[in-house]
Structure formats: structure tokens, C-alpha cells
């Protein structure tokens, strides 16, 4: 019963972070601030959801599996956010893969 209550509290808290992260990704003005919102959802949102689910897991394998998922998302999510920020800084925010950069070939710029 206590376990169920803890699950509800933690999962709801996680959902709140996901919702906040989504609102941030939608409303913030540029890539860097959006990344800030994204990492909150990545780390805390998923972390709290998984912490809540830990109370429902039966057996060591379930717990270990959940913790492994969390560790993976923590590591890769953080690094991916960093890499996206770095790429945006060095390559510019508005380069899109199928468009030529306007500086290179003015004729292509409109595409």
C-alpha cells in the first residue's frame, strides 16, 4: 500500500517534469534554452518515473533492468544534449541538412 502510494507520488512528479520539459521545448526562444528544458525531462522526468516503477518491480532482474535503463538515458541524454549544443555553436542554428548554407553559394540560398 505504501509502495503503491510512493509509486503514484513519484510517477506524478516525473510526469510533471516531462510536461514542464515539453512546454519548455515548445516555448523557449532558442536551442540552448530548449536543451535546458529537455535535460530536465530526460534526467528528472524519466528518473522519477523509473524510481516510482521500482516499487512495482518484482525480483532483482526487474530492478536491475530499470536502473540500467535509467543509467543509459542519463549518460546518453546528457552527452547528446551537450553535442547538439556544441554542434549548434560551431555550425550555426539554422543550417538544415538539405539546404546549402547561404554563404557558400548565393544561388542556392533560397532553396
Amino acid at each position: 500500500m505504501i509502495a503503491d502510494l510512493l509509486t503514484v507520488v513519484l510517477v506524478v512528479a516525473g510526469l510533471a517534469f516531462f510536461a514542464a520539459g515539453t512546454v519548455g521545448v515548445l516555448r523557449f526562444p532558442d536551442v540552448y534554452t530548449r536543451l535546458h528544458a529537455l535535460t530536465k525531462a530526460d534526467n528528472l522526468g524519466l528518473g522519477l518515473v523509473i524510481a516510482g516503477l521500482l516499487f512495482q518491480a518484482d525480483g532483482a532482474t526487474g530492478v536491475l533492468g530499470l536502473l540500467l535503463v535509467w543509467a543509459l538515458v542519463l549518460a546518453s541524454g546528457t552527452v547528446v544534449a551537450h553535442l547538439i549544443a556544441q554542434r549548434t555553436r560551431t555550425h550555426g542554428a539554422f543550417e538544415s541538412a538539405d539546404r546549402e548554407p547561404a554563404t557558400r553559394d548565393p544561388e542556392e540560398g533560397g532553396g
Partner: protein
């Protein structure tokens, strides 16, 4: 419960339809590719809802991982070639006469819509029961494994799986016949983060792949999922090389690529000579034969997908 799941299903289907629509009508190719990756994730959730965790695993690994990376790199290759010789350009703007295009669109929409209605009609006429499931269930104890999907793949319909492995090798031969590989055009983001994360992710991906291979005999998982995850690990290694692609040793590469098909064929012929017939297993050995074939098939699938990601045939042949 059921009402909540109903809402979930409706939202999921609306999402899938909307994402597919925007993916296919987008003029920005990069946007289309990102939407395609998102579509893979949504489809994976749909497969979960349809009680097909095996398929969800494969879709997550292939749709979101392998195909996504492949599409992104292909866009980059096309852009690179565009830079080398800017002759043919801006395909989405070369629309020809707009009236003709509109007419074509209209005709195609009408035909596709009619086809869709026909398909729905055919679906409504389907009897409401689960096809061959009772038959598989009745024979499951003879298959040598506990996961029915693996049993069907590697025992009951081994022929299909064998030919499917051959098709993968064929696709790779086709890609190799196009000439030398296009190197992955890439200038990585500088700094220690990318190599660091690759050093962390690659071993975890390899362990996960092996785990899925082992899990496949009794639960969701198996050669295809494991091959896809291992291929993702290989793609990570390819992407992690700062400058050049690793040049694989030729003979082992080719042996690995055909290992799945060759072992499958060998076991099939063994069944023909000593057992119940072509592609049948001598029963007490079924589990071990299936496991051996799965290991070889995993290796072949992973190598083939990585080789397809790299593109043309390996360097050494050209020397």
C-alpha cells in the same frame, strides 16, 4: 482501464497518421528524416499495444537506430556530392507544369483512396480468430524453443528465414556492385564527449545484443533483434572513427556475411539426409542447432547492416 487504453490507442494512431503525413509531405528532407525516426518510435509503441514485443524490439532498433542513422548520413552524402558538382539541384522546386502535377496528384489520390477502401472491405470480411496460433501451439513442444515467434522463424517456417537471410546478403551484393564505398562524410564535433559516449555506449550495445540473442529462445528477442542492436553498435564504431573508416579484413568479413546462410543451408541439408527432411531438425538437437543458426544469423545480419551503412565494397579489392 479499457477506456484509458482506448484513449491511448486513438492518440497513438492519430499521432502515427499525423507524423507519417508530415514526414511524407515535407519539402525539408532533414525534417522528413527526423519525423521518420519519430514515426519508428511511435510504431514501436503500437507494436507493444498489439502484443508483439518481438516486433517492438526490432522496430526500435532498426526504425529509430539503423535506418535513422542511415538516412541522416545519406542526406549528408547527397549534400556532399552536390557540393562537388552543383549541376542537378533543388529537386523539390523542379515541379514541371503545375497543372499537370495537380492532375497527377488528383488521379493518384483517387486511385489510392479506392485501393484503401477495397483493403478496408477485405479486412472487414476477415474471420475474427487468430489464424495459425492453435496449430503453432500444438506443435510448440517439438520446436526446441519456448518463444513461439522464434519457433516459427527457425523451425516451422525456417525456409522463409533462410531466404530472408539470403535477401540481406543479396542487398549487400547489390550495394557493393555499385562501386567503392562512399566514405562517411563527417567532421565530428570536437572535444572528448563524443569518443567518451561511444566508449560507453558501444560495449553496452554489444552486451544488450548478446543478451537479446540468448533471451530469444524463451522470450522476446532473437537473431533479428540481436543483429539489429549489434549493427547499431557497429554503426556507433563507424561513426566514432574520427577520420577514416576501419578497413575490415576481407576474408573474415565475407565469411561472416555468409555465415548465417551457409550454416542454415548446412543444417537444412543435414536434416534432409539424416532427419525429417530439408530444413528439418533431428529432434533432440533442435535447441542447439537453432542456437547455432541464430548465432551465425546474428553475426551475418549485424555485419550486413553495418556494411550497408558504410556503402560500397571494401577498399582492399581495389588495390
Amino acid at each position: 482501464m479499457s477506456a484509458v487504453l482506448f484513449v491511448f490507442d486513438v492518440m497513438l494512431l492519430v499521432g502515427i497518421g499525423g507524423v507519417a503525413w508530415h514526414c511524407l509531405t515535407s519539402t525539408d528532407l532533414f525534417r522528413a528524416v527526423v519525423l521518420f525516426i519519430a514515426l519508428g518510435l511511435l510504431l514501436s509503441m503500437a507494436w507493444v499495444r498489439l502484443e508483439a514485443p518481438d516486433i517492438a524490439l526490432a522496430e526500435a532498433a532498426i526504425g529509430a537506430g539503423v535506418t535513422g542513422a542511415l538516412l541522416l548520413i545519406t542526406l549528408e552524402r547527397l549534400k556532399h556530392l552536390e557540393a562537388l558538382s552543383p549541376t542537378g539541384r533543388d529537386p523539390e522546386h523542379s515541379t514541371g507544369s503545375s497543372a499537370g502535377r495537380a492532375l497527377l496528384s488528383g488521379v493518384v489520390i483517387a486511385l489510392v483512396g479506392a485501393l484503401g477502401l477495397l483493403l478496408i472491405r477485405a479486412l472487414l470480411a476477415q474471420p475474427g480468430q487468430a489464424g495459425l496460433q492453435p496449430l503453432v501451439d500444438a506443435q510448440m513442444h517439438r520446436s526446441g524453443v519456448d518463444n513461439p515467434v522464434t519457433g516459427v522463424l527457425l523451425n516451422f517456417r525456417a525456409y522463409d528465414t533462410f531466404l530472408e537471410l539470403a535477401v540481406i546478403v543479396l542487398a549487400l551484393l547489390g550495394a557493393w556492385s555499385l562501386g567503392r564505398h562512399e566514405s562517411v562524410p563527417a567532421r565530428p564535433v570536437p572535444g572528448p564527449m563524443l569518443p567518451g559516449i561511444l566508449r560507453f555506449l558501444t560495449p553496452v550495445a554489444i552486451v544488450t545484443g548478446v543478451y537479446l540473442l540468448w533471451a530469444g529462445t524463451h522470450g522476446p528477442g532473437g537473431a533479428f533483434q540481436a543483429g539489429a542492436v549489434l549493427a547499431a553498435a557497429g554503426i556507433l564504431i563507424v561513426l566514432g572513427r574520427p577520420r577514416r573508416l576501419p578497413i575490415a579484413p576481407d576474408q573474415p568479413l565475407r565469411l561472416g556475411l555468409v555465415a548465417g546462410v551457409a550454416l542454415f543451408l548446412g543444417v537444412g541439408v543435414h536434416g534432409l539426409l539424416f532427419g525429417p527432411g530439408f530444413m528439418g531438425y533431428v529432434e533432440p538437437w533442435a535447441y542447439w542447432l537453432i542456437l547455432a543458426i541464430e548465432v551465425a544469423a546474428t553475426l551475418s545480419i549485424a555485419l550486413a547492416l553495418v556494411a550497408l551503412f558504410i556503402g560500397g565494397r571494401p577498399h582492399e579489392e581495389d588495390r
